[in-house]
Symmetry: C2
Subunit: 198 residues, 2 copies
DNA sequence: TGTACATCAGTGAACGCGCGTTCACTGATGTAC
DNA sequence: TGTACATCAGTGAACGCGCGTTCACTGATGTAC
């Protein structure tokens, strides 16, 4: 166990974790390759052996985030029976994830990787997360006979994404900034739309 | 009419317009004080006679944006009679504004000015825009007897803000990227939630 | 089991860049008398 | 109407900064024989 091994061992993973930590502590804007390398205790050129450029690192961080989000949403799916309730709680889980990991959430939707086609793994992870929401919408039969399903997915996604975005941008007050507050607020907002439906 | 007057005349306004143009053409991230000054044809130190720092310029740009948004939403208010319809179209106007001015919209909600207290004019403009939505929600009696009004405002805001954000981030497909497409999509999404209400 | 060698994963110096901000300055404008 | 002077709104040089990226390099590891 040498104190300073020349080879890191799993630098790729360490860099991603460092990026997540820097985002959490200093904001998503502060995630630079040099800073990430510094945080991981490695020279600033080392990351280039693992990522072709800065954007690739961001994409890897976002990928991890989408996998965690998909996981959180799926956990709800497995634990609740009523399809309607399941949709509601999947939405709450989405918002709670964002509020619990605001800077990672920002990274996941940052412009730099808005086009995920160069990053197939990221693309797949994002699609998985979205698929969870789609399943919940489909099972709950949110739409009437006249509304098509894609629009229902878009509407449901927009609601929870809007809640998440507004809360982490501080636009809905401080009470909503905690995971518990966010859950309560988003649950109430979801019910404001859906409570009177049959 | 000298070709290069030493004094600009209305540099403050010109700088704000330059910032809007740079955002539109190159993205909100590209708006720097030096670039804005360059675009306005003025030395890079000149802006400091009109704005104490970079953030103050961003705040001024956001203020203009919020005033335009409030104006668009209010225009709907005056032109539609049915309160329910009015709320829907106010929401559509919100999304259409965002899609028509995506980079300015981004600037309006950028983290740098998330706390608007140091910028009273910005704060007031943002409050005005929000008030328009609040009036529309109140008039439409969105909530039932059991849901309180603030949560209805939050829910309505979240829905349209989510639509706006997802569309300008390219997450809802290319058809939604045009103002017409965005209007159609957001109208459909709003109806997906509200069409079956009494 | 040992050795030669290819490959891999680091290092550290260097590049050029644009940025925000400060400073001493100067030209233009407005005002008091 | 003219003049002295304060104030205002520009200029351009300079500061230090962190960034992404490239490069020649070197230490460590793995593999063929």
């Amino acid at each position: 166990m040498p104190s300073k091994p020349y080879h890191h061992g799993d630098l790729r993973r360490a860099l991603i974790e460092a990026a997540v930590e820097i985002a959490r502590e200093h904001g998503a804007d502060e995630v630079s390759l040099r800073r990430v390398a510094r945080h991981a205790g490695v020279s600033h050129a080392a990351p280039y052996h693992h990522f072709p450029d800065r954007t690739a690192l961001i994409a890897a961080v976002a990928e991890v985030g989408f996998r965690a989000l998909a996981n959180d949403v799926s956990a709800v799916e497995r634990s609740i029976e009523s399809p309607r309730e399941r949709l509601h709680e999947a939405g709450v889980a989405y918002v709670v994830f964002a509020v619990s990991n605001p800077e990672q959430f920002r990274l996941m939707f940052s412009r730099e990787i808005a086009d995920s086609t160069p990053y197939p793994d990221l693309h797949a992870a994002a699609a998985d997360a979205r698929a969870g929401l789609e399943r919940a919408v489909a099972a709950s039969r949110l739409g009437s006979g006249t509304t098509s399903e894609p629009i229902d997915v878009a509407a449901a996604w927009a609601l929870v994404h809007g809640l998440a975005t507004l809360i982490i941008d501080g636009q809905l007050g401080n009470e909503a900034a905690s995971p518990e507050g966010a859950a309560a607020l988003s649950r109430a907002a979801i019910h404001a739309f859906w409570s009177q439906r049959s």
